[in-house]
């Protein structure tokens, strides 16, 4: 690893607790208002918000791009992050088996999430003034696929007089949460299978 990369990684690692503390204090206190009246709060706001947050974001961007572009950097950082060890042939075999199982379970999860994200379902009561006699309820379901997120956002805003009891228009989770969950799942699954085969 190059010296600059090592410094950036150390900055990310050591600044993380400070950043967490800053975010907690920012959420817990009205730090923005306090910073104007209190000197210490002002200094903390400047250091935490400007220098630590700023440098951490820049460092995180640099590392994420470098992880994509540099195979050597990727191997050093991610093998350490996942505690991947290949000290002898048995560990190489185990790593292969654990990686295979992780890949297959992740693929299964992705297929499941894709199906859930496409599924649309709604159950609604039709107002008496527009209801056909005998048909006062409406069930609709289907599949939706959009290339960008804009269509998905617009799906729930249909202006219909129906009184919706249940409505499901894809996963009620943000993209960030899903991606973070998948990263966590990959690491957990790999470690689980390594332990299982050992």
């Amino acid at each position: 690893m190059k010296k600059f990369d090592a410094v950036v990684m150390k900055v990310l690692l050591y600044e993380l607790p400070v950043l967490v503390l800053f975010i907690l204090s920012y959420k817990a206190l009205p730090l923005e208002h306090l910073a104007q009246s209190n000197v210490y709060a002002g200094i903390w706001y400047q250091i935490g918000g400007c220098y630590v947050f700023g440098s951490w974001i820049l460092g995180a961007l640099y590392v994420s791009v470098k992880l994509l572009l540099s195979g050597n950097f990727r191997q050093i950082v991610l093998t350490r992050m996942t505690s991947m060890r290949e000290r002898d042939e048995r560990e190489v075999v185990l790593t292969g088996q654990a990686s295979k199982n992780t890949m297959l379970t992740t693929l299964a999860i992705l297929i499941f999430l894709f199906c859930l994200s496409c599924l649309q379902f709604s159950y609604a009561r039709v107002p008496a003034e527009i209801a056909v006699p005998g048909n006062t309820r409406e069930v609709s379901w289907g599949l939706g696929f959009s290339l960008t997120g804009e269509d998905a956002e617009a799906k729930g805003t249909e202006n219909t007089p129906l009184e919706r009891v249940i409505e499901y228009n894809g996963l009620p989770l943000s993209t960030s949460v899903i991606l973070l969950g998948l990263i966590g799942w990959n690491i957990f699954s790999y470690k689980y299978y390594m332990k299982k085969y050992e």
Partner: protein
């Protein structure tokens, strides 16, 4: 291929040879260039070493490879 796998079971005398030379698993692992967990796994039958590692072990103990690793034939008469 499935049938052949079921009938053949690899076994070894690694723990006997190691005991004869009064070696610990750690010492053997260091001498061969693997981890202690690998020696434990081979002795316990949980891992079959590659040909290269099997030859390294045979060379270390100055034995023929077939005297360390051999096939334990299972009684398959009932299965067939």
């Amino acid at each position: 291929m499935g049938k052949l796998e079921q009938q053949l079971k690899m076994t070894n005398r690694l723990n006997v040879l190691r005991a004869e030379q009064r070696l610990t698993q750690e010492q053997l692992a260091k001498a061969i260039g693997v981890t202690r967990a690998t020696i434990v796994a081979i002795e316990g039958g949980g891992y079959n070493p590659s040909l290269e590692l099997a030859f390294r072990l045979a060379r270390f103990f100055k034995k023929d490879i077939s005297t360390i690793f051999f096939i334990e034939e299972e009684d398959t008469n009932e299965k067939i």
